[in-house]
Symmetry: C2
Subunit: 789 residues, 2 copies
């Protein structure tokens, strides 16, 4: 073992020091530039870093930064979480008394994504950042939140798909911009509310599929798929001026992302221009270690930390840099300028958060317990769940007409759910209202046959007989089940898309009674419900994801019609057999010999329920009311867009489309206007269609109309070629409203194709130095054969 | 849902009634034949069953049998467990006071298998059956034990491989005969000690590999592999007159085993003649349900229970028969004679256990707390662990010379193990002595850097820095780690054979110091330790499985040389890359295009450590001292074996071989004599070699010799042809001692080939009636493509 003379005393993993701020009024730094609020954040940060010794700098590379006591720099814990409410290992909820003992827990992103309502997302994110500041002021959480998880939900088996808004890259991009605005605040604000972290950059969407562990997986991704799909939401993060990125556990095309200058420098900083001084990259936790083992990219531990730092990883979630940078410096593997740059980025970011400044001057530093879990926040959490719930099937039984004469049988292991409602990365919610609890608030008779008849894992019959009484005495049967975090979780991918345990048998027994049977499907990843869709005795199916603290009332709001459903599936519901057709490790999106294709754009089989599917309690018609030309000259379209960069392309307008939506049914309802482009422009194969815009309209009364406005840009029309360039092709285009579609307009682009964005190609050495004696040792599990690109 | 007028009130899952016996002295049955101890068990059982109503009979099909109160038949819980000590969901350890608060917990079978000592196994099983009787007399467990798990450990990923003695079918057969003798007692005993249950019949060795769930998996197995490998240990169970079989979750060649008359009737009862009246088959828990879902073999639930009962499943672990046999009878799907037969088998078995007889006449009914966890039992548990531990590598550092001047660094998440030591299916042990505890009893300085540096799952670095002190201050470094039940368990197969978490990095850091570094590998399935074998800085490697309550002292006994190692690997240690070469679902043993072959007999790659590998602290030489002919005429050999059946073939002697073993080194040691046959007899491909006998010799002094006697039968020489017949082929044979080998004798068989056993072929319909609307729904995960046979 390398023992450098510089090897430090064991460092503690810093906790409990989340809101101890430097004292710029009276501390040792008071006369330094770092404390000069009129200096620029860059100059302030630089001035601080120059005061550090090498040892102090190295210690500051850890997410559990010990600070520099001699300078009055307190320890700081960079790692907080806020996926759908404040959470994480270093967020400290009080266990005595009421204050700071809970916060607002929103639905998982997969359900909020189904709302297709960007304003909702901004509102939710504002609550999270507000509550984060209140907890930070109480020394209970940090200011840097390692959220959002914005990798697209590429494969339905992914255990963390629940953390994302869905499978479509445009949808995720739109969602994440709305989210970052709510988390960080306006770019013109003097201080950031909190710093958001777009993770996991990039190509991260496998946990442990069949021996392919995230820590060692090498995602082979074509440049075309990379630009068109995997990177698109991250580009949106740059457009939203996100404060931090997190590089991921996996490698992409041979290089561990935290050691990859192509991703961290060429793409992120050079091509996308993410170069504000306060923007930094953290590693995923212990991902720096993984560059050595199991990736074996770097021959030694010292080389691994040097490779990460040089590639552009500015912060190490873990202690590997702390432990091995002394050796790396001793061996001359890295120079101090690189380390300085990383620290300047960190401290510039803290300057923008007001870390060094007087609390009295900062509105966010005034937030207290009265800002947490307000009535409005609770109502928003319930509304977020209601907006997301998707009605998949309905023979007319819904909305339920319930009164005291109705006897309702309630079954399934989610009926009386508690923390199941939250999904992963949850903090302590204000309360947990189960579907059963919510039904018990209504004026009807409930026959609850609870516990776990069906459930996850083993299909056990032992508790079935307890159902018979509730079945016999009920007029209507509701089964509330599905999957939960025992099936899909961080570190754990699904291997099956079928109903788990004995649930299908239980549901079939309910349906066989001939009584109206309603199934509420819970969980983030879709479960193939074809057997329920095809069973005429099953009257209705709802999908309700992980609906959060008020999930039960939200489900009941939908069931009773108090809030009519308008959510749309944010992911394809594939047939269960899909998992036997393609290994999760095949990152390709387009169909090929051993890949039926991925997402609604490319999947060449028949989905059980399609992306965007969602019924209402009424019907809608739609008309495109904007005048559109039959034909557009590419040269004309390009004229306003000559100097656009990869990042400003989003501002190159094509046209705005007004879509008039009419509620032709009998009850008021929200309506999500989905706008797709399809057509035979550009090289084959062509995607079936591509989402290019959406807008949720609210409470359209029966017989009434409302208008959605969708702003299309040149990017809405562009396709990505095989080397990753974005190209505007001449050819036929069709604009379609909704899945059916409810309306469509055809037009044509003419003239020569134009490249909107030239994509930089990876160069240089994509082979690491390796670890002796481990050749092929971690080569992954069965089914790891990958597409060569 | 079918609601028969016969559908009973909900039945309770019977508990707490494990030793309430029928009262044949004063109860309602006192004058019936069931209470007549001079009548045969068959007549006694028949007389009881005729007294039952159909409803009472149906209720008695459940493992939680409610009994018949009007006849004085108490409830009975058939389900107890005793894999390596009494255990299971219905074994009730006292939580107040000492008595019955614990029992003896032996090592997992995988480690006891490594002892290659059948006498040890009988002794262990006798302790288990003694403690079982004591607990039963205290109303704390039943009399029927659902052990052993005797499916061969075919694929190194199997989560339950730890429950088996290893990968070799001959080894398992020999082991299981020794085990059943200890559990059930001598066949001449008036009462059985307990009833053992050979499970899982058959072809069960996948939990959840990549979406292929045990409940729905259809194992495609050739007749050749079935006879030669998968069924051989079960045939041994029949030879040992085991009282019960358990049919399994999976299907074999299309038919769920609990509904398969070919397995349960044609093979088990007809071909093997397992037809004593007291021999019964139970389903695995809820396996009857699985015939309907997810196997979809039977079109309805009623058909599923009828199919199971008719096929020969006499007892349902679960309630599915209780719930659906009323419907099956109403629909005429099954007749009462079949049900009567099942119950006669059950009650005959209970008669043989003395259930109906006066306690005063039964020695086993006298056992009390003083029979449990005796000093002798504790010593046996420790010896069982010592005998099994395998020395894989040693550069001379072992045995450790320790005295008070030695400073020992102790690392790894198993060092201070508690219940990890036990593996699965464990009861409450007498105590849990960790390796750290055992080392602390020695006269030396221990530097324990504990907790979980490395561990399972996430490779986290956060706790590493805590190692540096212990590393610096120690002369010798011991790492005790590996895998545990978080990695391999019932319901959970492994996906990787590589070292988990960050353990390899930790071990490499220890080794890089240049100090003597010893690695103790824990867990049931082998971990590819090639990186350690190839690292010259790693001095020694031990494998210690799940060593049970005294695992720590057993390991230290070996490390210090108090007990020299003599265990042998009961399974091949494959390279980690093995998992990428063959799907677990491919049941084939022989190498093929997509299968590198399985077990030491067929694997065509290079094992990291071979089956049978195991070093000593000394060296041995061996000589075959029996005179052997150069040639044998098959006709002569067959002359004594004309009327042998499949089951009595084991008595058709070939010859007994005496092998003289000499300890040529400096320290006394046990030695396991492994005897293999190889050669080019019969059709290609030929197995590399086949184990045909073994004997452990004890404490051979330095320079001394001892003799092993291996009894070879005609089956030792036979091979299995493609349709499953056992055939004696003319050709070349070689008898080899040990892996090296240490000695070999060649001989020849001449004349015409002879079939020793004609195998009945499956006939009739191997396609079920199916469940409407679910075609292909549970078709398994990626990699389920199977060999067509």
């Amino acid at each position: 073992m390398y023992t450098s003379p510089r090897l430090l005393q064991p460092l503690i993993w810093v906790t409990g020091v989340l809101a101890v701020f430097p004292d710029c009024q009276n501390g040792p730094l008071q006369t330094e530039t770092i404390c000069n609020t009129s200096a620029s954040p860059l100059d302030r940060a630089k001035s601080l870093v120059t005061l550090y010794t090498l040892e102090e700098k190295i210690n500051a590379t850890s997410s559990g930064s010990p600070g520099v006591p001699r300078l009055g720099i307190p320890p700081y814990q960079w790692w907080s979480e806020g996926l759908h409410g404040i959470a994480g290992p270093y967020t400290n909820f009080s266990t005595s008394g009421i204050e700071y003992s809970y916060s607002t827990s929103f639905p998982q992103p997969i359900l909020m994504g189904a709302a297709f309502d960007d304003h909702l997302i901004t509102d939710v994110a504002k609550v999270i950042s507000t509550e984060a500041r209140a907890f930070n002021n109480a020394n209970r959480t940090g200011l840097d939140f390692w959220t959002p998880n914005i990798n697209p939900f590429r494969d339905p088996r992914w255990g963390r798909g629940q953390e994302t808004p869905g499978e479509d890259a445009f949808h995720l991009s739109s969602y994440v911009k709305a989210l970052i605005a709510g988390l960080q605040g306006e770019t013109t604000d003097p201080y950031k509310r909190v710093v958001a972290t777009c993770k996991h950059f990039a190509g991260y969407d496998i946990e442990d599929w069949n021996g392919n562990l995230r820590y060692q997986f090498d995602a082979q991704i074509s440049q075309q798929d990379l630009v068109e799909y995997y990177l698109q939401p991250f580009q949106a993060c740059v457009q939203a001026n996100v404060g931090a990125f997190m590089c991921s556990y996996n490698a992409v095309n041979g290089v561990p992302t935290c050691a990859d200058p192509y991703l961290l420098q060429t793409i992120l900083r050079e091509h996308w221009g993410w170069t504000n001084e306060e923007q930094w990259v953290t590693s995923d936790c212990d991902a720096v270690q993984n560059i050595y083992l199991p990736h074996q990219w770097s021959a030694t531990r010292e080389q691994a930390v040097a490779d990460a730092l040089i590639a552009g990883t500015d912060l190490d979630c873990g202690t590997y840099m702390q432990e091995h940078l002394p050796g790396a410096f001793a061996q001359g593997l890295v120079n101090e300028n690189v380390l300085d740059q990383a620290l300047v980025r960190q401290y510039s970011s803290l300057v923008r958060l007001g870390w060094f400044d007087d609390a009295a001057d900062q509105p966010y530093r005034q937030f207290g317990w009265d800002s947490v879990a307000t009535d409005a926040s609770q109502a928003l959490a319930r509304r977020a769940a209601v907006e997301g719930i998707v009605l998949l099937k309905n023979d007319g039984v819904l909305p339920l007409s319930i009164d005291s004469s109705v006897s309702l049988g309630v079954f399934g292991d989610w009926a009386n759910a508690t923390s199941q409602l939250l999904g992963n990365y949850a903090g302590v919610p204000t309360y947990l209202h189960s579907p059963l609890w919510a039904l018990q608030q209504e004026n009807l008779t409930i026959n609850y046959a609870g516990g776990n008849p069906g459930g996850q894992g083993d299909p056990t019959t032992n508790r079935w007989s307890s159902l018979s009484g509730a079945i016999a005495t009920s007029d209507i049967l509701i089964y509330i089940g599905g999957i939960d975090n025992s099936i899909e979780e961080e570190g754990h991918d699904r291997t099956s898309l079928a109903w788990t345990g004995a649930q299908l048998d239980v549901i079939f027994q309910l349906a066989a009674t001939g009584k109206p049977t309603i199934v509420v499907v819970m969980g983030g990843g879709q479960i193939d419900s074809a057997p329920l869709a095809n069973n005429a005795n099953i009257s209705a199916i709802l999908w309700a994801g992980y609906p959060g603290q008020d999930g039960g009332p939200a489900i009941v709001d939908i069931l009773t019609g108090k809030s009519p459903p308008a959510g749309r599936l944010p992911q394809t519901q594939y047939p269960a057999s899909y998992t036997s057709l393609v290994p999760m490790t095949d990152m390709g999106l387009r169909p090929s010999e051993n890949n039926p294709g991925r997402t609604y754009k490319w999947y060449n089989g028949t989905a059980t329920y399609e992306f965007g599917h969602g019924l209402h309690y009424t019907n809608f018609s739609a008309t495109v009311t904007s005048p559109m030309q039959q034909s557009y000259r590419i040269a004309d379209l390009m004229s306003t867009c000559k100097n656009a960069t990869s990042i400003t392309l989003e501002r190159c307008a094509f046209t705005s489309v007004d879509i008039s939506v009419t509620n032709t049914g009998a009850v008021a309802s929200d309506y999500v206007t989905l706008c797709y482009i399809s057509g035979s422009h550009g090289p084959a194969p062509h995607p079936k269609k591509s989402l290019v815009g959406y807008q949720r309209l609210f409470g359209i009364a029966a017989g009434a109309s409302d208008t959605a406005r969708i702003d299309l840009t040149l990017e809405s029309l562009a396709r990505v070629d095989e080397v990753g360039n974005k190209v505007l092709y001449p050819g036929e285009y069709s604009l379609m409203v909704d899945n059916a579609p409810l309306a469509a307009v055809a037009f044509r682009l003419t003239g020569e194709e134009e490249v909107l964005d030239f994509w930089p190609q990876p160069g240089g050495n994509r082979t690491g130095s390796g670890v002796e004696g481990l050749e092929g040792y971690f080569e992954g599990g069965f089914g790891s054969g990958q597409v060569v690109v």
